[in-house]
Amino acid sequence: MGKSNGSKQKSSETEAQPDLSRRNFIARAAIGAGVAATLGAGKASASDAERPIKIPDEFALARDAAPVKVAFPMNGAQVFARMCKEEGLAALFCCPGNYSVINAIAQEGIPAYSGRHEGAMCHAADAFIRVTGEIAATSGTEGPGFSDMICAIAAANAARTPLLVLASNMSIQQEDTESGIQLQYQQPATEGLKKYGKRLLTPSRLSEYTAYAFRQLRSGVPRPVHIDFPSEVYRAQFKTAADLTYYYDKSRYRTDSKPHPAPKDIRAAVEMLKQAQRPMIVSSNGVFYSRAWDALKSLAEKAQIPVAESGAMKGQFSDASPLSANAAPAALASADVVLLVGQYCMPTVGEFAFGPDAKYIRIDPAPEDIGRNLPIDIGIVSCERAALEALFNEMPAVKRDAWVAEIAAARKKFEDELDVIYKQGLGYTDAVHPAVIAKELGDFLYRGKIPKEQTTVVSGGYGIARYVRRWLRGYRPGQIMNGAYQYGAIGPDVGYAIGVAAAVRHGISVQKPYQGHPIVCVTGDAGFGYTAMEMETLAKYRLPVIVIVYNNNAWGTWNGNRANPVTLSMHLFQENVRYDKVGEALGAHGEYVTRAQDFRPALERAYQIAVKESRPSVINCQAKKEFWLRENAPGFLGKTEPGCMSYFH
């Protein structure tokens, strides 16, 4: 450290004393966590306390501000925002940039959240959609902000999320010039990662292409839609609606009508299901987006068909039902007919646990996808809800007591295995085993004081996911957000937590009954490293998220390199990193848990802080990488359950 704000040179002794300088404060913020951890000096000094982390008053002002009424004449950004509002755009997650558009959206009264990294905020929008079924937007600035979003767009694409991606794009006039900074031709960068994309070129066609965007977002199998705005479009002035081509009500440019199943297809499916001895339904994304959970329940109960869930979110079929096959993996190979409903991301042969003799009926709104990857016996092109309702109407009541008993026995077997794993985990006293975290979290969420359907969970991480997901349960739609899902990105979890917490805060859609309650996010130390700065975003918006960090000092890949001294270190971090202190430094509450028995009390404290202060927490669970070794039973678990043994499809 050199000179302070004054010119006086300080000795090291002097520097050890409390110092109120801004430089010292910043230096402490940068290095303080590690030093404090090492020295055991976790308490803030008196001088630090005089500069507490403070949420600017502007946040309250923004929260209380009324939407701005805008009427023609409007600029392009305002026209676009108005159409988004009329389409029911439910939220915006962004970083500063694309200013005209994001400001116009916020001024329409659409909840708008701004974070630290465009990628994390894009993940937030993805997660918001996956637990509400409503459309949200994400936005970044030209070139760099947009390119920061690419991984998150890809993850949303794999999850089949109807995400509206917005990005500004300098001006058409500057195209190909490299004039100034941040120019990028965006649309090719999202090739293969979107359902539809358009660079807006003609100002008067703005409304026409906005209609294109929402038609794509609200029909068929959803995926991201990417619209980029050159300044000539968002700054264009429109005196009246007549200056815009095709500017009219949404009922004129799209329909809410859905494809219904052909009667002969339904009859064929009913016949196959009647003949089946051990049928099973796989309920996935399409059931959620078509809000078909009631139809699913009715059909399952009438025909005694067990249900396993897959997809980017879980909870459409309650795990409290005796027909839930989620936690009954041993029974899956017994199914003789599998009814796949809204399974947009289709596994290949052998990825599901269903046996080679199983026949498949697939319900999907996209005929071009039916039969891809997994051969079918019957394909039904339809909205999932319409097809399930038609099947319910045609299907006679059937009793399948033996099959339901087999499911129950498999569930019991699975639960017994979990007990064994938990007891093995409790046997480790030098670090917190993931089985302890998973079991204790499950007990807290479902068997304690909280109603079991209340808490929405971001289920992330890699190694820790193999444990936690075995104990997680879904009791209502939108209760579990299935992490990075098929794209397999490491690190979106804290970003996801922003979106889920925002959805719960505002009580959007299926989250309405749980409005304002805390949520839980589970992640690993590798993943936390990517989006940890978003703890600051959670803190500044007072989003009550409990982030559980499984800290085993390593990437999940380390054990594959354990015998190679040359490569092993590439898979390791420093040991005992204090992620809880990182959280504290960013305005969250921190807990550092090093013993199994301390996890539950830490969770209770974090929950109380979430309830009383609406403040996020980081619970840093100190584990060790060696838990993944076979000799440390139960070791690294394989397939992530519960589900149908293809959790990421």
């Binding site: 017994s334 042969v349 080679p356 690294f636 394989g638 397939k639 043994m645």
Partner: protein
């Protein structure tokens, strides 16, 4: 099962053990037995073709009489052998790089033994009266064999195919790293 049932014939080496048994028993002629083998092979072939026709097996072909190759649970082809002489069906060298008496090998044998378990539902169980599971490990390559009794070839094909499926589900749960290293299966 009698030990000498599987012994090579000391005389008449041109005869298969099945043929020798037939001759000794005096019930079947060699010609009849060849006809039976042809019929058995036809049953096996047709049973496998059902899976190929349904798209469960890809790149299905009979590379020589009674030896089938197809892609199924991994990106790599597997070899399925109909052995009339030994009265068995075999997934040859199904699992490479499994050391004999290793933890994985022991676990696999335990898993296979449990396929006879009375507690398993009947549709998942292997009936010892109709077939017997054998797991061989030669040079670290595991082959899964089903010895078929009383010419129940259709039963045998169905049970062995389902058995291999269950083995891979089991490995995905217990040996994700092994599958990633040996079969490029994603460690999801």
């Amino acid at each position: 099962m009698r030990r000498d049932f599987w012994a090579r014939p000391s005389r008449g080496a041109c005869l298969t053990s099945t043929e020798q048994r037939s001759v000794v028993s005096g019930r079947w002629s060699v010609a009849t037995n060849n006809g039976r083998q042809t019929k058995s092979l036809k049953i096996v072939r047709e049973s496998l073709q059902v899976y190929a026709g349904r798209g469960v097996f890809r790149n299905f072909s009979e590379i020589k009489t009674g030896v089938f190759s197809f892609v199924w649970l991994t990106p790599y082809p597997v070899e399925f052998v109909f052995d009339a002489e030994k009265q068995e069906l075999r997934f040859k060298n199904l699992l490479p790089n499994v050391a004999a008496r290793s933890a994985m090998h022991r676990d696999l044998k335990t898993f296979l033994q449990a396929r006879y378990d009375e507690q398993l539902p009947a549709h998942r169980r292997v009936d010892m009266k109709r077939a017997q599971i054998v797991c061989t490990n030669r040079g670290g390559k595991i082959s899964l064999v089903l010895k078929v009794k009383n010419n129940q070839w259709a039963y045998g094909v169905n049970k062995l195919v389902n058995l291999v499926h269950e083995v891979f589900v089991h490995l995905r749960e217990r040996e994700a790293e092994y599958l990633a290293e040996n079969f490029d299966v994603s460690e999801e």
